[in-house]
Amino acid sequence: MIHLEQIQKVYRTDRIETVALADINLHIGQGEFVSIMGPSGCGKSTLLNLMGLLDEPSDGKIRLNERWVESYRDRDLAKMRNRDIGFIFQTFHLIPDLKVVDNVELPLLYRAGTGKQRRELALEALDRVGLSSRVNHFPSQLSGGQQQRVAIARAIVGKPIVLLADEPTGNLDSQMGEDVMGILATLNADGTTIVMVTHDPQKAEQTHRVVRLFDGRQVQ
């Protein structure tokens, strides 16, 4: 599903070079639910962003859905992000000026389809996260947990092969965090591959496998 080989990521700003990731080799199989753990600043988000093609590695190779990512041409990347990946962020990243349903439709705007199809898929996704009654609300009218559920609906609406979640419960209280974990577990049970960053051991326990990072390197 996702295969990383000898991945390295170095951030260069003016004079400082930060080695965020070094020698990462990782395989994530179809249907897995993997959590990535480690202290703050160890490179978890960086790793997830590379898997989600939101950034380019400084070195190494990535295989996604049995295809090596060879050219980092913008248009190809955009297509893969749209088709294969569903991203969930710690801070939700909903567009405040769009209603819930319009936020969920967003990924579908960047592929073929009619407005009616988009609406149907969005409502279906909202139904799966239990938000059918909040379709015409604006994000500011929802609780944090509800907002993250909208973000999950937006991530799954395009039926991606993998969900990447960067501390999806990090901004939520424990009850709402549990709700979100429940939804992710259900999605995984239905066959969605999930990679989740967390620093909560309890949450990590609910997944199949834990990948630990320390200072940009995998530890066992």
Binding site: L54, A78, K79, R81, I95, D102, L109
Partner: protein
């Protein structure tokens, strides 16, 4: 996608309203500046119709009492003829004629007349038979005034091209009489018919920045009028008005002697000529100046100085508008870098992001420009256009709209290029 953008714009109406207002104000400033610029540029481009090189103007001032009688008038005309003849004898003079209202001066004979049911406005002047030659007036049809026009039962007139088209449309003006709608007032003699003998390109009396308009030249036949026999000065025999029409139909004492000198003539000639003229007419006074000097100072005080001030103001305004607008648009994009990062994370490529931003801006610009056009359309209706022709105004509004589109597109395009250059991961972290 279009619907999505419309929703977004609508839901951000408060911010977008301010942007639209900013664009609208910019449009009004731009439209005003480009109207001015286009107007004066077009005026400047239009032919002047005559030459001012090597031309000297002699302004003749005649002390006028209340004692004007036909004899006195006739004597003055005769004296003017002698002055012109004396000028012609000078070896430096290539050609000489006379003009009632000099060029590059604010002397104006503005009138209107009803022709074929339409009110036609024009500026008029009276000129001598040699004037076309002296000032190299460009003829486009027919001929200038000449001796043939003496003793006819009509008065000769020359029109500029615009006036000829205005009155006669596509038919040839030369040889026709100017139709007259108004019947003579009771008790007054009927106006003599006016026949067009020639059409000139133009005679822009007020210079190259003035608005081109209709122009009519009347023949000022001072030679015939000066030699005409006056009927017995018996007050009972003829009323003065009648005498005047018979003796000197349409003839007036010219105030300008126009001279074209040979190349290389210096200011010393001016002194000599004025002395000669003074001898012939001791109680008249003469002001002689090269027309180029008159033109320079006239244009400076009437057009160039005010235009320079206006241009400076306009320049400042344009810079302010450009800075203000690009600031607002720039902010509009940079405030949304995270949103743009999100869209890319969800599958929008760079091209799409840029198109989205330009699309939004184009729509807002269109709204602002349409609003601006509605506002600016009131200007001609309120009669605030003054001398600016409606066509020029419409063109300028179009130009301003285009310029504004170019500006907003650039101001949206550049920050959107910057915003999409960074990887989406970074855009999403942008503060």
């Amino acid at each position: 996608m279009a619907l999505h953008l419309l929703k977004l714009i609508w839901n951000r109406k408060r911010t977008n309203f301010l942007i639209i207002i900013e664009i609208l104000l910019s449009f009004i400033v731009l439209a005003a500046v480009s109207t001015m610029a286009t107007h004066y540029y077009r005026n400047y481009q239009a032919p002047l119709g005559y030459s001012y090189e090597r031309i000297w103007d002699v302004h003749v001032r005649v002390p006028r009492g209340l004692d004007s009688t036909p004899e006195i008038e006739r004597e003055r005309l005769a004296r003017m003829v002698r002055l012109i003849d004396a000028t012609r004898m000078m070896p430096e003079v290539e050609s000489v004629s006379h003009l009632q209202l000099g060029t590059f001066r604010d002397w104006e004979w503005n009138s209107d007349t009803k022709i074929n049911g339409r009110q036609i406005e024009f500026n008029g002047n009276r000129g001598g038979d040699e004037l076309a030659e002296t000032q190299s007036i460009t003829l486009v049809d027919g001929r200038w005034f000449s001796r043939e026009d003496t003793g006819q039962n009509w008065d000769a007139v020359v029109l500029n091209r615009r006036m000829a088209r205005d009155v006669f449309g596509d038919t040839r003006a030369v040889g026709q009489q100017i139709p007259q709608d108004e019947a003579p007032r009771p008790g007054q003699p009927a106006d003599r018919p006016r026949r067009v003998v020639g059409v000139i390109e133009d005679f822009r009396q007020f210079g190259e920045y003035s608005t081109p308009g209709n122009y009519v030249f009347m023949r000022n036949d001072i030679v015939t009028a000066a030699n005409a026999a006056i009927p017995d000065a018996d007050p009972a025999a003829a009323a003065p008005a009648d005498a005047r029409t018979q003796v000197a139909a349409g003839v007036e004492l010219p105030s300008i002697i126009v001279i074209r000198v040979r190349p290389g003539v210096t200011a010393e000639f001016e002194e000599r000529l004025v002395k000669t003229l003074q001898t012939l007419a001791p109680d008249w006074s003469f002001g002689m100046q090269p027309l180029t000097d008159i033109r320079t100072s006239y244009l400076r005080s009437n057009y160039l100085t005010p235009l320079a001030i206006l241009g400076l103001l306009a320049g400042f305004l344009l810079v302010m508008v450009a800075l203000g607008l690009s600031g607002v648009l720039w902010q509009n994009v940079t405030q949304r870098i995270r949103e743009l990062g999100l869209r890319r994370a969800k599958g929008a490529d760079r091209e799409r992001i840029r198109r989205q931003i330009l699309g939004e801006l184009a729509l807002m610009t269109a709204i602002a420009v349409i609003g601006g056009l509605l506002l600016m359309a009131q200007v001609p209706m309120l009669g605030w256009l003054g001398a600016v022709p409606k066509g020029v105004y419409a063109t300028s509004l179009g130009l301003a709209g285009l310029a504004l589109f170019a500006l907003t597109m650039f101001c949206g395009w550049y920050p959107s290029v910057l915003a999409t250059r960074i990887p989406p991961a970074e855009a999403l972290r942008y503060e």
